[in-house]
C-alpha cells in the first residue's frame, strides 16, 4: 500500500495550486491581509494554521462516526478553539516573543474559515490519514500565499526582510522611498488580486465559461 495514493496525494497537493483556499476558494482572507505587513509573523501564522488544521482534521476524522449531525458545527468549533488555546499556551511557554508578535491573531485562527471549511468538507467524510494530509496541504496552501504577501509587503513597505535591511542606503540617498501603502491592508488585498489574476491566467480551467 502506497503511503500516497492518488486520492491522498490530491488531498495534500491540490490546495497548493488549483484548490488553494485563499486564491481559489477565497477563504481566510482576513488573516492573510492582517498578518502580512511583515514576513516573520506571516511565516509563524502559516505554521500555526497548518498545525491546527492538520490536528483538528485528525480529531474530527477520528470522531466522525460518533458526532451527532445536529451539533457537528459546535463540536468542530470546540475542537478548533481547544487546539488554538493549546497552541497559544505552548507559544507563551516556549516562544514568548513570537507569541507577542502574533498578538491577537493566534486567537483568530479559531475563526479562520479554512479551519471550519476543512473539518466540515473533508474530515467528516474521510479517514484520519487523508484528513491529516488535507490539513497539511491546506495549511501550506494558505501559508505560501501569506509568505508571498509578507515578502513583497515587507520588502517594498519597509525595505527589510525578517527585520534585516535589504534595500541599500544608497537607494534612499538617491531619492528612493519606502511605499507606505504596502504596509496598509488595502495593498494586501490588491496584491492578493494580482496573485489570483496570474494564477487564473495560467490555469484556464479555473476560468468560468460564459
Amino acid at each position: 500500500m502506497a503511503i500516497l495514493s492518488g486520492k491522498t496525494k490530491a488531498a495534500l497537493l491540490g490546495p497548493l495550486n488549483k484548490d488553494n483556499p485563499v486564491i481559489v476558494q477565497v477563504l481566510g482572507i482576513c488573516s492573510a491581509l492582517a498578518v502580512t505587513a511583515k514576513l516573520e509573523p506571516a511565516i509563524v501564522m502559516a505554521i500555526a494554521v497548518t498545525v491546527v488544521v492538520a490536528l483538528a482534521n485528525v480529531i474530527i476524522s477520528l470522531l466522525r462516526k460518533l458526532i451527532p449531525t445536529r451539533v457537528r458545527m459546535i463540536v468542530q468549533l470546540m475542537v478548533a478553539a481547544t487546539l488554538v488555546a493549546i497552541v497559544s499556551e505552548l507559544l507563551k511557554a516556549y516562544a514568548f516573543d513570537v507569541n507577542r508578535q502574533l498578538s491577537v491573531f493566534v486567537g483568530l485562527i479559531v475563526s479562520n474559515c479554512i479551519l471550519m471549511g476543512r473539518m466540515e468538507a473533508f474530515a467528516l467524510g474521510n479517514g484520519p490519514w487523508p484528513s491529516f494530509l488535507d490539513g497539511i496541504g491546506n495549511g501550506l496552501g494558505y501559508g505560501w500565499i501569506l509568505v508571498v504577501l509578507g515578502f513583497v509587503r515587507e520588502l517594498f513597505g519597509s525595505g527589510t526582510l525578517l527585520g534585516y535591511q535589504i534595500i541599500p542606503q544608497i537607494f534612499y540617498d538617491a531619492g528612493y522611498q519606502n511605499n507606505g501603502f504596502m504596509s496598509l491592508a488595502p495593498m494586501a488585498i490588491l496584491l492578493t488580486g494580482v496573485i489570483i489574476w496570474i494564477h487564473r491566467a495560467r490555469n484556464k480551467d479555473l476560468q468560468e465559461t460564459e
Partner: protein
C-alpha cells in the same frame, strides 16, 4: 462494532456526547495550562525585567536579562501618594512587592525601581493605560533631578499591527530621551503630537507614530496619568 447500538440523532445521545466532550476537552486544556503555567510566569517575569532594562536604553536578550537586572537595579519599593517611601516594601525580586505591584495594584502604594547606571541614580516608574484595543504599558526612566527623562519604553497587548504597535519600537521610546516632565516647576508630562505639530501648552512633546493616532494619543494620556501619580515623589527629588 455493534451497528446502531444507539441512535446517534437522539436527544439523549446528543446531550451525553456534548457533555462528555466538553469535560474531556476542558480537563485536557486545564491540565496543559497547569503544566505550562510556571514556565509562562517565568517568561513574563523575565520579559518585565527586559522592559525595565529597555527603559535604561539597554537591550538584553531573554537569557541575559536576569543577570543584567540584578546588576543594575539596586533597589525597589512602593511610595505613598505624598512621595514618601512605604516602610517594609523594599526588594527588587519578582516576588517582592514593588515587582508584583507592576501588574497588580498594591493598595500600599506605587512601585519605584532605582537603578545605578555609570554611577548615576536613575528612577524607573511603571506606567499603565488603555490603548486602542487593549491595555498598553511602559516604563519611564527619570534622572535624579526628577525632571529629565533618561529613557522610555512602551509595550502593548494588541495595538494595530504595522500601525499603532510601533509604540513598542526602540525608535519611538528614544524620542523621549532628554524631554522634561516639568515646566516652571509644574508637572506637564510629555505630550505625543502629530509629526510636524507642536504642543498646545508649551510642554515638551514627541512625534506620534504614523497611522496610529489613537494609540499615540493613548500613550500621551497614559504618561500624564501614570507619571502624574508620582508628582510628589518627583517634586521631592527636585528639592
Amino acid at each position: 462494532m455493534e451497528e446502531k447500538a444507539m441512535n446517534r440523532e437522539s436527544n439523549v445521545y446528543t446531550i451525553l456526547f456534548s457533555a462528555i466532550m466538553v469535560v474531556i476537552f476542558a480537563l485536557g486544556l486545564s491540565l496543559i495550562h497547569q503544566t505550562l503555567r510556571p514556565k509562562q510566569i517565568q517568561n513574563e517575569n523575565v520579559d518585565t525585567m527586559r522592559q525595565i532594562l529597555r527603559s535604561l536604553n539597554i537591550e538584553a536578550s531573554a537569557a541575559e536579562a536576569e543577570a543584567k537586572y540584578a546588576e543594575l537595579i539596586k533597589n525597589a519599593y512602593l511610595i505613598a501618594p505624598d512621595g514618601s517611601k512605604v516602610v517594609g516594601t523594599e526588594g527588587t525580586q519578582y516576588y517582592d512587592r514593588a515587582f508584583s505591584a507592576i501588574s497588580r495594584r498594591d493598595a500600599a502604594g506605587l512601585p519605584v525601581f532605582e537603578a545605578n547606571v555609570n554611577g548615576n541614580t536613575i528612577f524607573i516608574l511603571p506606567m499603565r493605560g488603555a490603548g486602542m484595543w487593549a491595555p498598553i504599558w511602559g516604563y519611564l526612566a527619570v534622572n535624579a533631578d526628577g525632571n529629565t527623562i533618561f529613557g522610555a519604553t512602551f509595550d502593548h497587548t494588541s495595538e494595530t499591527p504595522g500601525l499603532g504597535d510601533a509604540i513598542a519600537t526602540q525608535a519611538f521610546g528614544e524620542r523621549y530621551i532628554g524631554k522634561r516632565l516639568f515646566q516652571n516647576g509644574a508637572f506637564t508630562s510629555v505630550s505625543v503630537v502629530k509629526p510636524g505639530a507642536s504642543s498646545l501648552r508649551g510642554e515638551d512633546y514627541v512625534d506620534g507614530v504614523s497611522g496610529g493616532t489613537i494609540t499615540s494619543r493613548s500613550v500621551g494620556v497614559m504618561m500624564y496619568q501614570s507619571i502624574g501619580a508620582y508628582e510628589n515623589f518627583l517634586m521631592n527629588l527636585q528639592r
